[in-house]
């Protein structure tokens, strides 16, 4: 078919041009390759040797090393708040991810690559995404918004004239968008998302419990007990191990679910306010569609317990979680690769 440009295929031997969708998130990198599906779904972390720059680990293995490395290892999250902050590391990370493909020999030069980014990033930040793809040798690259890809991946028909609202709570950014007729009508991005919650937890533990914990521990605490429910019927508790701020000795503390909930209320209030801000700017006709359909949640933040109830209390709209919050964006790239993000060509699956 289209993706197998026979002329090039002949010259390059077995190498093939394919269509690749990349969801380069602050916390997770997902790579979709046409015909193969999602081939990579791991944390966007890479560990390199300090002196030589050799890659030691990527993904899960590298994430395990966060806060545990010695001076010979440099552990990098190439993205910060949704945008590329370390070009070289990002480049290497994607190359490593693409090596997971088994059946096709990808010819990057003739492939089409789609990279997703938050909706409210500057042109320079977008350009840096394009530069990243160019540095991989890809000539044909285009950028699309994560909310757009995410809503398609979540199974919404954004190509109809019925508006819908999608909230994508990712690692670095929370993206809120109103979509209609295949594109974004209104959107906003705030940099309050997963990593921000982790930092809040780290700060809280330091001041309230006098214990210093690493990012990994904070993330685990969040995953274990994070909730936004008003009434906790059977409150859970978890533990954290770290270093005592005063004595410097390793320390173990028990954390109640309530504490984490109270900690999360502020950032989520912030997110709700941004949702309200977007709703205020939404044309009235689309408002009437949104009230019928409700809000759809995507991204890691959507998995937090009680989030639907929390948002409904403040925005008075139905809130639905998508079935696949973590992979929705990568799945949406499948569709966007077909029509190159063109809003008036409705791609057929």
């Amino acid at each position: 078919m289209k993706n197998q440009k026979t002329d090039n295929g002949k010259n390059m031997g077995k190498r093939q041009a394919v269509r690749i969708g990349i969801d380069l998130g602050t916390s997770n990198l997902l790579v979709y390759v046409e015909g193969e599906g999602i081939i990579f779904n791991e944390p966007s972390v890479i560990a390199m040797e300090y002196e030589t720059g050799d890659i030691i680990a990527v993904g899960f293995n590298a994430a395990e090393m966060i806060g545990r490395g010695h001076h010979g290892i440099r552990i990098i999250s190439p993205l910060n708040q949704g945008v590329v902050s370390d070009m070289d590391a990002a480049n290497k990370l994607i190359i490593m991810a693409l090596q997971k493909v088994e059946n096709v020999n990808i010819d990057l030069e003739t492939s089409t690559v789609l990279i997703c980014c938050p909706s409210q990033v500057t042109q320079i930040e977008r350009d840096s995404m394009i530069d990243l793809a160019k540095s991989l040798g890809v000539k044909d690259v285009f950028i699309e918004e994560e909310v757009k890809a995410g809503s398609i991946g979540a199974g919404l028909d954004i190509y109809s004239s019925d508006g819908c609202m999608v909230v994508d709570i990712g690692g670095g950014t929370t993206d809120i968008g109103v979509l209609s007729l295949g594109d974004i009508v209104v959107s906003d991005t705030i940099r309050v998302a997963g990593n921000y919650f982790d930092n809040e937890i780290i700060n809280y533990l330091q001041y309230e419990h006098g214990i210093l914990v690493g990012k990994r521990t904070a993330e685990r605490v969040k995953k274990d007990v994070a909730t936004l429910r008003k009434n906790l019927e059977a409150p859970l508790s978890t533990y954290a191990n770290g270093r005592d701020v005063v004595s410097g000795l390793p320390k173990h503390v028990i954390i109640k679910q309530e504490e984490i909930r109270n900690l999360l209320i502020d950032p989520f209030e912030n997110i709700c306010n941004t949702i309200l801000k977007v709703l205020q700017r939404t044309p009235a006709e689309l408002s009437s569609d949104i009230i019928k359909k409700g809000i759809f949640l995507n991204g890691g933040g959507a998995t937090i317990d009680g989030i639907d109830e929390f948002i409904t209390d403040r925005v008075f709209l139905d809130v639905h979680r998508s079935k696949n919050p973590m992979t929705a964006i990568a799945e949406g790239t499948k569709i966007l690769l077909q029509n190159r993000g063109n809003y008036f060509v409705k791609p057929t699956d």
Binding site: L181, L279, E285, D289, I291, K292
Partner: protein
């Protein structure tokens, strides 16, 4: 040469565009709305599809209503819309178009310049032979009334952008008056009413839907209530509101009172001989506004003349162009007998 010319009747209304093609009938009957891609200028949608986009688009699409108050306000869009209809829907070639005689209908009280714009539009499309006729004339013909006899007749056409009142006799208009209070104005008033009483902003489409669902001028019937959604103007969040027929009637009454005033004013100026005819034959109502329940009663109660709504209020203008194409609007030739 004349025999080979194909007749093309165009009712380019503010709300709906209807195209009548000789030998084929009405080939297009959809809202006069067109949507463009902002960057490339390509047509994305037209007619009903574009109508659904109103108030819902992102900034890559531009949705335009090429007409305002019955006259062309955006020439390019009007041309694109006509071209779209003829080329895409009807697959007419440029050559076929150059073999057409077109009649375009317009409100009765438009300036010469506004009429010339209509002619330019048809010329732009590639139709060499164009003439303009009044909508009320076509409407009366299309509803099956013989306007060519020496009997006076009054017609009221409540359209999208204008309400047209005319007295016809001997195949042409004796006198007429136009006001810019019609369907779209009613939508605006309904939206304004809901905004002031409920603090909810509703979109154009919702207002129109509200009118279609609930508009009535009957005073005694049971009130129906319906639910519509809009945006709270203070908080910005979407909200449901209930609107009932009584409220909509309150909004519509002043508008129809104005229309009645216009009818009486015209009746006052009508020559007495024609007045006598009108008293006998009554007033006929056409256009989308005549679909509102109780409108005939509302008018006849106030001016004490029988009023009836035609059978095909939305298509009668386009159907009337069939006759006007035969006699080119010449009042001496009765096309009904051709």
């Amino acid at each position: 040469m004349k025999k080979t010319m194909q007749g093309l009747g165009i009712d380019l209304g503010t709300a709906n565009l209807l195209v009548y093609l000789e030998q084929k009938g009405i080939i297009f009957n959809e809202p006069s709305v067109i949507a463009f891609d902002r960057e490339s200028g390509k047509v994305v949608a037209a007619g009903r599809d574009a109508h659904e986009m109103l108030g819902k688009v992102h900034n890559k699409i531009l949705v335009i209503k090429p007409l305002r108050h019955g006259v062309i306000s955006d020439m390019n869009a009007a041309k694109a819309l006509m071209t779209y209809v003829l080329r895409k829907v009807e697959n007419m070639t440029e050559k076929q178009l150059s073999m057409t005689t077109s009649v375009i209908c317009c409100p009765s009280e438009v300036t010469k310049i506004e009429r010339d714009v209509m002619i330019d539009l048809a010329k732009n499309m590639g139709s060499p032979d164009v003439f303009i006729e009044e909508e009320i004339k076509a409407g009366a013909l299309g509803s099956g009334v013989d306007i060519f006899e020496s009997k006076g007749l009054m017609i009221v056409d409540i359209g999208g952008g204008t309400t047209d009142v005319g007295v016809l006799s001997f195949g042409d208009i004796v006198l007429s008056r136009t006001i810019r209070m019609a369907g779209n104005f009613m939508d605006d008033q309904i939206a304004k009413y809901i905004k002031t009483t409920r603090g909810i902003e509703i979109g154009e489409l919702t207002a129109e839907k509200c009118k279609i669902d609930l508009a009535t001028l009957k005073t005694d019937n049971n009130t129906i209530e319906n639910r519509y959604a809009g945006r709270d103007i203070v908080k910005g969040i979407p909200r449901w509101i209930n609107v009932n027929t009584k409220e909509v009637r309150e909004v519509l009454e002043p508008i129809f009172t104005e229309i009645v005033k216009l009818i009486s004013a015209l009746l006052k100026d009508t020559p007495p001989e024609l007045s006598a005819d009108i008293y006998d034959r009554g007033i006929i109502l056409t256009g989308g506004g005549s679909l509102i329940k109780g409108v005939a009663e509302f008018i006849s109660e106030r001016i004490h003349i029988p009023v009836r709504v035609v059978e095909n209020p939305l298509t009668c203008v386009a159907e009337g162009t069939r006759f006007l194409l035969k006699n080119r609007g010449d009042y001496l030739v009765n096309p009904l007998q051709l």
